[in-house]
Structure formats: C-alpha cells, structure tokens
C-alpha cells in the first residue's frame, strides 16, 4: 500500500520534472529557430531579455516577496560592467558579459542591507538605489571610467549574432535555475520565508542567507542580461540602460503571468511584449493604460496572475 503510494508519487514527480523540462526546451528551440522564420532579431532579442528579467523579478518577488522597482539598477550596472571591461580592460565580448554579471552581483552585495526592509520600504528604497547607481554612472566625475553622460560606444565589439546566442543561453540557464529553485527544498524554504520569516527561522531555515542568495542570483541574472543587452546595442547612454520602464515592464510581465511559477513570467512576457509590439508602437499611451488597468484588475480579482486561473482547479503548473 505504502509502496504503491511511493511509486505513484515517484511517477508524479518524474512527470512534473518532464513538464518542467519542456519549458526551457521550448524556449531554447523557439528562440533558436525563430530568427530563421522572422527577420527582426531585435524584437526576438528584447523579448528574451525581458523574459530573463521577468524570471529575475519572479525569483525575488515570487519566492521571497521583495518587489524590486529598482531592478533595472542591476541591469544597467551589468551593461556598464561589460562596457568597462571592453573599453578599459580590452576583454573580448563574452568575458566582458560575465564581468558585467559579476559586477552586478558585487553591487548587490553592497546593497544587501536593503533586505532588512520589507514591503513598500524595500520597493521604494530599491528604486532609490537604482537612481543612485544611474546618477553615479552618468556623473562627469566618473568620466574616465564610464564616459559619464557621453555613454558607451562599443562598435568595435558589435556582434549581433554572438550576443543573440549569448542571450538564448542566459535565458535558458535562468529558466532552469528557476525550475531548480522551485522544485528543490530550497524553493519551499523560500516560500516559507515569504509566508512567515520567524516561523521559517524556527524551522531551521537560514532566513538571511537564503534571501541573500536569491538576491545575488537575481542580480546576476539582471547583470548578465544587461551586459548582453548593452553588447547587442553596442551604443548606449546611461538613460538607455537605466530606464525605469525596464523594471516596470519586467514586473508587469511577471505579475500578469503569475509569480512563483516558471511558466507565468514566460507567458506574461510573450503575451504582453507581443501586445506591446502590436499596439504599443503606434499608441504607447494606450498600452500603458491597458497594462495599468490590467494590474488593477489582477490585484482585485486574480492576484496570482493568469496562471492561477489554471492552478485554481488544482492543476499543476510548472
């Protein structure tokens, strides 16, 4: 009896792992093949970047409850870390991308104390931190390192195909990371912390360390994405990579799809970024209006995002 139960559970587990594995596979195949059928790589590239960012937001908000309005700070730092590595250290593009991710993680260590805050305090303070980063980078006092307000020109390292491939890889790795975290005890522990940090600590979970790990991971994701994004643009100003709308869109995509799942941010990015390109370009204010109303409606009627429509009936969604 018990044995059959275990076997059943084992089957279910394997089934779930399989379904989970399908998502990064679809992402990989979809974004690897779509350039051959659809010529505007830039749209595909940005959809991937937003999907990775949405997963980063998902990790942080979905698993620890910190809503990072200033998430773009890590993105921008990643782009600048990459650019500085190319300009001053003469690193090749891919290594420079890694440096961008690392610099972003280092900045995240400096801002670790932000995790002492919660709710709105954290959300708005992270925004303030991003503004500080952006203004430090663009200040003329930093001109010898960041080129200050003049922005970065990396035309000598411009390589759209390699940077596209790099983005596919980072996106797939990000998705796999989220799957791992969601399905490991660590992910359950994070949800416990999110529910009740005191109880979680009493269950033996290292609350501060677990949160810090997620914080660094999500900073790394944003940093790598920003670095590849900057590389793909190869010409950017501080405002381009520290544009607050980048955080806002990543958050909206995550909330819309459903946080705390793997599928939610993927679905949110595809649907809303698609919508953005369909209607946002000609009448962007209507797109803003639509997603603003969507958020209000979601909070009131469907706080778990569209994924929760499926979860509601007890279905498992990766």
């Amino acid at each position: 009896m018990l044995n059959t139960q275990l076997v059943e559970a084992g089957k279910r587990q394997r089934g779930r792992l399989l379904i989970n594995g399908v998502i990064p596979f679809l992402v990989l195949v979809g974004f690897s093949l779509s350039p051959f059928v659809y010529a505007n790589q830039a749209i595909l590239f940005q959809m991937m970047a937003f999907m990775a960012l949405a997963q980063g937001v998902n990790l942080l908000y979905g698993f620890t409850g910190y809503l990072p309005f200033g998430y773009v700070g890590f993105f921008g730092i990643g782009a600048y870390g990459m650019a500085i590595s190319i300009q001053l250290l003469h690193f090749p593009g891919l290594l420079a991308v890694v440096m961008g991710g690392l610099l972003s993680a280092i900045i995240a260590i400096i801002f670790l104390p932000l995790l002492r805050l919660s709710g709105a305090y954290f959300a708005i303070s992270s925004l303030a931190a991003a503004e500080v980063l952006s203004n430090v980078v663009s200040n003329s006092a930093m001109i010898h390192i960041t080129n200050g307000p003049y922005g970065e020109q990396l035309t000598q390292s411009y390589h759209p195909v390699t940077s596209y491939v790099a983005m596919v890889i980072v996106l797939v790795l990000t998705t796999v990371t989220v799957i791992f975290i969601r399905n490991m005890p660590f992910g359950r522990a994070l949800m416990a912390i999110r529910e009740d940090p005191v109880s979680a600590a009493m269950a033996g979970i290292a609350v501060v360390r677990s949160r810090s790990i997620v914080w660094l991971l999500s900073a790394l994701i944003a940093g790598l994405t920003g670095a590849i994004f900057g590389w793909h643009l190869s010409v950017f100003y501080p405002n381009t990579v520290f544009d607050l709308n980048i955080s806002i869109l990543a958050i909206v995509f995550t909330l819309f799809g459903g946080y705390g799942t793997v599928t939610g941010p993927v679905l949110g990015s595809i649907v809303l970024y698609g919508l953005y390109n369909a209607i946002g370009i000609s009448d962007p204010q209507y797109f803003q209006l639509i997603y603003g109303l969507l958020i209000v409606a979601l909070v009131l009627f469907l706080p778990g995002g569209i994924i929760s429509l499926i979860q509601r009936r007890g279905n498992y969604v990766p």
Binding site: P185, R188, A189, A192, D196, A200, M202, A203, G204, I205
Partner: protein
C-alpha cells in the same frame, strides 16, 4: 534535579524604548524538566520566550545552552541546536500544505527528530495533512506549530499559550502529550494563563510581574506566597 541544566539565562534585560519588558530575569532548565511560566498580561513571559528563541536579543544578560553562549545567535542556528517553540498566535506557512509545513522543519532542523509522519500522528493532524495550512482552524494551527517544532528535533521546547481556545478534553490530550515529550528528555517552558493546565503539567513554576521574577518554586507554594497572590492570583484568573 541533579542533572546539568540544558538552558541557562541570566539577568536578562530587554527594553522597548523606555519600557523595561524584562528587568533582570534568571533561571535554568534541565533536560526532561517542565517549567511553567506564569504571570499577568504584559509581565514579560512572551518576551522571555522571544529572547530565548532569538527573536529579540537582550540589551544585557546572557543565554547559554549546551556549553555555548547563544545570546546573539540567529534563530535558525538555535533551531538547529534544538531550541524550538510555538507561537501565541499560530504562524504556519499558510499557502503550504500541513505536511509540507512539517517536512520543511524536518529537512532543515536538527537530527535526530520525529519524522513528519510521526509528528503528524503525534499531534493528530494526519487526517488533514494534505490541506493547506490556511484551511485549518486556529487550534489546529496551534497543533501544527507544535508538530513543526517537533519535526525540527527540539531539545528545548518553548510553548506559548497552547491552551487558549482548547476544550477541556483537548487540554487533557495536550497535557499528556507534553508530558510524554518531557519523558523523552525534552526540556519544556510552558507559558500559560490557564493555571489548571499548568498544574496538570508541572509542579515547578516561575511567576513574573512587570519584567521581574517574583517567585520560583512549586505551584502550590506560589499560591501561598503573599507577593504572588497580591499581583497575580489576586487580580488574575
């Protein structure tokens, strides 16, 4: 009580602004011993539990356990050395299932410990193990707190007002359970308003008032103590 104490707290002072919630409280606890912590509302009982569990660090004084000064240890480290607790207002992980709640503590807590299934059976929540914690009623949630603490392998268990809201029969069951735990050498501090319940559990009590210990000894002697009856028994339940 000749055994080495497993918990020693000395001269604990905890201030909130100008208010001294704990004003120099000391005590010891041996394995398998049950200490009843009683006193009127606001006398500092829960604050003392919080200091021992690590939710607050004291402003002065120290907490020792198993040869270590744990005064400034974070909560999870204490949990992993075997200090655990329940909460006055239960704090389960509401969106996780009952079983997942307990399994987490088993995974991250001290070993050896009761397995999740044993803990479920022990507190009698096995029939509802697949429900979400938020679907439980409040006394079930309290039992879930207890089961979670047990799955974390406690050597010292701090029980904060488990009795409130339980029926007479449930009380009896809980008291038996706690005594069974003490039999297994777990040391317990039981914060309780309900003196009858304390009486069922233990003879040894510590009475607190305004952040200070005003009596330590047997419950029956406490009843005769003039200070205790003035501040507590006279005005309390």
């Amino acid at each position: 009580m000749s055994r080495e104490p497993i918990l020693i707290f000395e001269n604990i002072v905890k201030k909130f602004g100008a208010f001294r919630a704990l004003d120099g409280v000391s005590g010891t606890l041996a394995p398998g011993e049950i200490l009843g912590l009683v006193g009127p509302n606001g006398s500092g009982k829960t604050t003392l539990i919080n200091v021992i569990a690590g939710l607050y660090y004291p402003d002065s004084g120290g907490v020792r356990s198993q040869e270590q000064d744990i005064t400034h240890w974070p909560m999870h480290k204490r949990a992993r050395m075997g200090i655990n607790r329940t909460f006055q207002i239960p704090k389960p992980f509401k969106s996780l299932s009952v079983e997942e709640n307990i399994a987490l503590a088993y995974h991250y807590g001290r070993k050896p410990a009761m397995s999740p299934q044993q803990a479920l059976d022990f507190v009698g929540l096995a029939p509802v193990k697949n429900q979400l914690a938020l679907q439980l009623n409040s006394s079930q949630q309290k039992l879930l707190d207890l089961a979670r603490a047990l799955a974390a392998g406690p050597r010292i268990l701090l029980i904060d007002e488990l009795a409130a809201g339980l029926s007479h029969q449930e009380l009896q069951v809980v008291a038996d359970h706690l005594q069974a735990l003490a039999q297994q050498d777990i040391a317990l501090i039981v914060v309780e308003h309900h003196l009858g319940f304390v009486n069922q559990l233990t003879e040894r009590v510590m009475v607190m008032n305004a952040g200070k210990e005003i009596f330590q000894g047997s419950l029956s002697r406490a009843a005769q103590d003039p200070t205790v009856s003035a501040v507590y028994l006279g005005t309390g339940s």
